[in-house]
Symmetry: C2
Subunit: 110 residues, 2 copies
Amino acid sequence: MGATKTDHFTGKQNQIATLAKALGHPARVAIIEYLLKVNACICGDIVNELPLAQPTVSQHLKELKNAGLIKGNIEGNAICYCIDEKMIDKLLNYFSGISSKLNKQKNNCC
Amino acid sequence: MGATKTDHFTGKQNQIATLAKALGHPARVAIIEYLLKVNACICGDIVNELPLAQPTVSQHLKELKNAGLIKGNIEGNAICYCIDEKMIDKLLNYFSGISSKLNKQKNNCC
DNA sequence: ATTTAACATTGCAATATTACGATAAAGAAA
DNA sequence: TTTCTTTATCGTAATATTGCAATGTTAAAT
């Protein structure tokens, strides 16, 4: 075992889980926040910002990219990473939906 | 290695990562959605809803509870689980903040 | 007191994740 | 061309996660 049983769940459930999982590590949260802070999507100094070795950062970037949360453009010999708004909005919509449903049903049981 | 270096990141980054990680599995997303659907926080038939054995579901519930996303009340010999609005709102606010910042800075680089 | 029902816990096997040193790849600069 | 800079990939060790069978635990029901 150790392998997630993805095929028993809906596509949407798996997609939300994939996005959430990608943000399930503080380094990747920090990367997103750094990309947000530097506005222009300045590149490889992400490594200098994080307390992690370069291969580790590269790996985290890859996972964020696979999940679709960031995009990367090659620019000379450097790479320009930036946040993909669409996926952030997907998460925002998801939690927004949950929150409004919760408010409607006034769940006062627990 | 294999252990996350949590102490090098901020408390907030770690908290968002913890919440996201808890939702980083389709079964746990499905549990949240089921709890949302049944409004009244009906209890142990979560096991019947999911394609997983009872101990596995119990473990997923425990992780959601540890992250603070759900609460559990003992009710006779059954247990009443329900969503904790506060944590959902924390995630909602977080992504809302990112989204609005992205809209302001019109990041047109990638 | 026994049995049943609902969950939790333990123990274990299979797999995934995290982290990094070493090395490769590819373009820029000299 | 050689060297430097930037990023990716490989290999590997340490640890975490996932999943379930077996077993506890607790309280209701008989």
